[in-house]
Amino acid sequence: MASRFSRGTLARFVLVRLAATVVLLLVLSFVVFGLLHLAPGDPARNLAGPREPTQELLDAIRREHNLDKPFITQYVLWLGQVFQWDFGESIRSGITVTSELASRGLLTFKLALMAFLLTIGVAVPMGVRAAWKAGSLFDRGVSFLSIVGVGAPSYAIGLVLLYLFGVWVEIFPVYGTGDGLVDELWHLVLPAITLAIGMGALVFKLTRTAVLGELEQDYVTFARSRGLSERTVRSLVLRNALIPIVTSSGLVFAFLFGGTILVETTFALPGIGGYLASSVTFKDIPVVQAVTLLTAVVIALTALAVDVLTYLIDPRVRARGLT
């Protein structure tokens, strides 16, 4: 019942998904714009500081940033600019959003990627091994650690790592990004480990659950009873267990990318997490819009990559066809 791998189907699938992503981004930008409009506070007032500003001052600031126009006009103006790849200037700082976002987004991406590789590289093999040797000392030990790891806030993990490797044994820098690529990556090691620990505990548990689930399927008993070698059985099990793991790994990356704010704060890194949070409370509309869209693009592309991967590794999904 397996159909042949079809390049055409895949291409069509990817195109449809990309088109859907564009629609998603449009909807998202409108929803966020609307929410910002509803949120309490006034960016003009925020810019003027806590002192009650004069009406002239407020009017001048509003004119400058088109805030005096009706909601729909504001949105259309913004959208028109975006189609010309102009995301405007931050209301708060006057900095061009694209230039600020490029450096911050890249830093967050590097951090998330490093944490992702650490998470998958360590947690998946350990999860498989733990499932394979369920009940062993290894399984019990790592399972216990994962239970604590999920419960421990990354904030605390970060500080403990900082103390251990930044102050006690001075291997890693305590904060900041350093100069140059190598130094920057070196600075990102502790933050990445911090991010990876909580996620790793999660991925470990999911991997272990998935592999255990497969081991209990009829086909395994069947394969074993037919006398297939343990190696063959293993590769069968792994192949099948891989699907939920791959599905979740996509989410893991999306989560890491969107969830760096805590380690950014602990390690004083200029990423997008803190940028978004402070821009939301300031109601810095162009920044919030741009950061949200960037995050959405990363999430959508990751989800797409996951689905393509699922398609490629799972013959049953291939058979069922893609949507």
């Binding site: 309490p40 419960g151 689930g213 939301v280």
Partner: protein, 273 residues
Amino acid sequence: MTVRRLPLTPLFVAVPLATVAVFALTSQWLVPDAARQDILTGVTAPGTPGHLFGTDQNGRDIASLAIAGARSALAGPLVIAFGSMLIGLLLGTLAGYRGGWVDLMLSKYADLLLALPTTLIALVIAGVVDGGYWVTVAVLMMLFSPTDIRMVRGAVIAQASRPYVESARALGLSHRRIMFRHIVPNVMPVAVTTMLLNIAFALVSMSALSFLGLGVGPGEPDWGRQLSDARDLIGRNWGSAVVPGVLIIVTASSINLLGDWLQERFEQRGRGR
């Protein structure tokens, strides 16, 4: 499972969980004055007479506050995790089983929710409906659901091409029956594990939002709140961080262990089928 061969597991986790539950149910009689301040006492270290784990900056007793905090620590996160998994099971199964447009729309809906900045939603809701604990619970439930939807969807896709589904189809069972009577039970192990993990996450997230004017106000009994307030007090009273911190970790771990144990039950039932 870690303790898979110990029949004691449920008993072992039951002790802390039951204690917390008892605290949650009886705190208004057990520690009626938990939120009582005594600013002249201020911060005191553990072991101060009358204050086993010391006091916070407003002179509130850490231990009493922690006992009173059990209620908000349990209720909200439970509702969040359960509610979001319910949404996840419903929409995720639909998306994974039906495929096609349904899947696309539901996946996009999940993507949209995932992409929305939490702080923004929190601020908007706080501004429009004036905050409050249960509003925060509702917001978090909504924000937790996309991960659950995607998780369930992935698991359902893996199940959908299994022989038992094929045969159910061949027998002409209704889609609804196939989805919720046959597939969902097989997705339950992953779902339950995720749900129980989410309880711990929800506990931490709730306290983060209280700083945006959502969730519990300052001085109200809540572990997450206590823990975050403790960051500044830790040098003068280690109890302020240790008490809520240990309570959160022990509660979260117990719930996780319970999840593992439950999952094992499911698996055994699966084997028995």
